[in-house]
């Protein structure tokens, strides 16, 4: 595809994100000014199953995709003729979900002769921090912590990304979801645990800090989940309504401690003075609080997007699309979708 000549005028990107269970579209100007950010959530649909059911997600995406895109353009007050490029997540994610968004994006770009930009969902999460800090330069550490990922990345000055650590089993958000389901707290688990933990004491029930001293930057949350289950089987009273806040507060604190300490340790090891925290779990209030405290103690600047931009959204996809367009990185119509893809 032809590289676009950039001018000084505003650049409008239509972002599309359908990698999991949310159908999202957004119009963003110059990678920083969000004109619309529409999210059609499927949480209510998947709640009864305690997790995302891929086939159910795909069925909902195909019903919603045109409606969500129309809504994003309408809220932004933009006609499709004013859009400069379309950016879409094509990896990693659920295949049946991804192909709905990518099919729509290709269709728009072909119909309107627009550049198509295919982006990595994880990289888009990192770029969610660029929306409010558009002038920030490369050379930082990134943590993506969500229901599918708990990984640390080095981002060099040219924005090349190298993984330095990842979870060896469950992602942090996955552990929250599983615990919430086990305790009958509903789905998704993160927000409900965050809320309940506020009224609990996080020091009353002690949990292990898995791999805290492992010497690398990998994570493990599966054992922590098992620890909570064994604990409650041994002490049934911990499942009482009155004890749940203390139980989840202690569990949450263990997750937060591991994530924050290992991230700060990685930043120090690689000499990074700035850290981008992103992904759905970055909306956790205790994690945000602890990151800011530790960052301040260690002279490391912590960037965390507003909670709304931590969850899956298309504004971050549009933001990354804008930066790729600026670098002349566009894709052809033969791009495919991929369930797995590292950064």
């Amino acid at each position: 595809m032809k590289k676009r000549t950039m001018t000084d005028r505003d650049i409008y990107i239509l972002g599309i994100e359908t990698s999991c269970d949310d159908t999202c579209a957004s119009v963003i100007a110059n990678g920083t000014n969000i004109l619309s950010n529409v999210v059609s959530s499927q949480n209510e649909i998947h709640k009864k199953y305690g997790g995302v059911v891929p086939e159910v997600a795909s069925r909902r995406h195909i019903e919603m995709i045109d409606i969500v895109i129309m809504e994003a353009l309408s809220i932004a007050g933009k006609h499709i003729e004013e859009i400069d490029a379309v950016s879409v997540t094509n990896r990693p994610g659920l295949i049946g979900s991804l192909l709905v968004g990518v099919g729509a994006a290709k269709s728009i770009c072909y119909s309107k002769s627009l550049p198509l930009i295919a982006v990595n969902h994880l990289e888009a999460h990192l770029y969610s921090n660029m929306i409010e800090n558009p002038l920030i330069e490369g050379g930082l550490l990134g943590l993506i912590v969500s229901g599918g990922h708990s990984s640390l990345y080095l981002v060099d000055r040219e924005w090349n990304i190298t993984e330095v650590g990842h979870t060896v089993d469950d992602a942090a958000g996955e552990a929250f979801d599983k615990i919430a389901r086990y305790l009958g707290l509903g789905y998704p688990g993160g927000p409900v645990i965050d809320r309940l933990a506020e009224s609990g004491s996080e020091d009353l029930i002690e949990f292990p800090r898995p791999m805290m001293e492992s010497g690398d930057f990998n994570f493990s949350f599966s054992g922590l989940k098992t620890s909570l289950i064994y604990r409650t089987k041994k002490h049934r009273e911990l499942m009482d309504k009155g004890s749940i806040p203390d139980l989840v507060a202690g569990f949450q604190k263990a997750v937060v401690d591991v994530l924050t300490h290992k991230t700060i340790a990685a930043a120090r090891k690689y000499g990074m003075e700035r850290v981008f925290v992103s992904g759905g779990v970055a909306a956790n209030s205790r994690l945000r609080e602890e990151f800011l405290r530790l960052g301040s103690e260690n002279n490391i600047r912590i960037y965390i997007p507003p909670a709304g931009l931590c969850m899956d959204n298309a504004a971050m996809v549009g933001c990354l699309g804008y930066h790729r367009l600026k670098r002349g990185l566009t894709d052809d119509f033969e791009i495919d979708v991929y369930s797995r893809s590292d950064l």
Binding site: Y49, G51, P54, V56, I62, E63, S111
Partner: protein, 276 residues
């Protein structure tokens, strides 16, 4: 009136463009690569072959299935988006209608034998929908009157115009088909001079069942060719929607079964979510 239609419900990806009901270009092939990679390239080739531009297409059509989940969604996602972005009407056609039109057009002489004598001529589309089941739809061939929402298309037989009209659809196990169809045909089944033409991919998949059925039931014929939805038939159905002023916009996939994940509620601790 230029119409572009897509069928991606089977292993064959088809793009067809017609101009005032006449085929202007067609690309239909079993794709070696997946549809996601090829679909825009094939649309572009068809558009160029028709000597036009995508912006000059007046209406769009797409086969809604039932069919392959992934392929069907790719076609629908592309066409429903194209339809609203270019502000042109888009029409969704159910796959049995496409099959029925294809079977009818390929069997005009057989149909005429009965129609010319005011005898019943029916088409039964039989789709292999996996899990040992057949999804079949009964169509009547009736003299043109006022086409309704159940009319798939109008075809010319000799000098007359006839509507291919959908009567009803059923999902049955392959083993019960031979008993189920006669029951649903009711009074027509007992008519000695009837013609019932059965076609679709199930007649190949369940060859023995259909061979026996034909042997044991007078007037029943199996049509074994064109066991995929023909793009020309899809185009006829879309043009029929346009001509009869049918409402555009319904472009969601058609499924033959409700999807029920792992029973009702999961109690196991296995997490199915593989991505946030």
């Amino acid at each position: 009136m230029k119409v572009l239609s897509i069928d991606s419900t089977t292993e064959r990806l088809s793009v067809i463009i017609s101009n005032n009901g006449k085929v202007a270009s067609k690309i239909s092939r079993v794709s070696e690569q997946n549809f996601m990679k090829k679909i825009i390239g094939d649309i572009d080739s068809a558009v160029k072959k028709a000597g036009t531009d995508i912006k000059n297409i007046d209406a769009f059509g797409v086969n809604l299935g039932p069919g392959d989940f992934t392929g069907t969604r790719i076609g629908i996602s592309v066409i429903k988006t194209m339809s609203f972005i270019l502000d042109r009407p888009g029409y969704g056609i159910v796959s049995p209608d496409v099959f029925a039109v294809g079977i009818a057009v390929s069997n005009l002489d057989t149909l005429w034998k009965n129609i010319s004598k005011n005898k019943k001529a029916l088409i039964v589309t039989c789709m292999d929908v996996k899990k040992g089941e057949i999804y079949y739809t009964i169509y009547d061939i009736v003299k043109v009157g006022m086409p309704d929402s159940k009319s798939a298309a109008v075809i010319g037989i000799n000098s007359g115009q006839y509507i291919i009209k959908r009567i009803d659809s059923f999902l049955v196990s392959s083993g019960s088909f031979a008993e189920h169809l006669p029951d649903k045909l009711g009074r027509i089944y007992s008519e000695t001079d009837k013609i019932v033409i059965m076609g679709g991919d199930a007649v190949i998949r369940y060859r023995a069942i259909f061979s026996n059925f034909v042997r044991e039931n007078d007037g029943c014929i199996v049509y074994k060719k064109n066991t995929f939805p023909l793009p020309e038939s899809l185009d006829m159905c879309v043009n029929h929607c346009i001509k009869t002023g049918r409402a555009a916009g319904n472009m969601n996939p058609v499924y033959v079964r409700e999807f029920i994940p792992f029973g009702k509620n999961r109690s196991s601790f296995n997490e199915e979510k593989d991505h946030d």
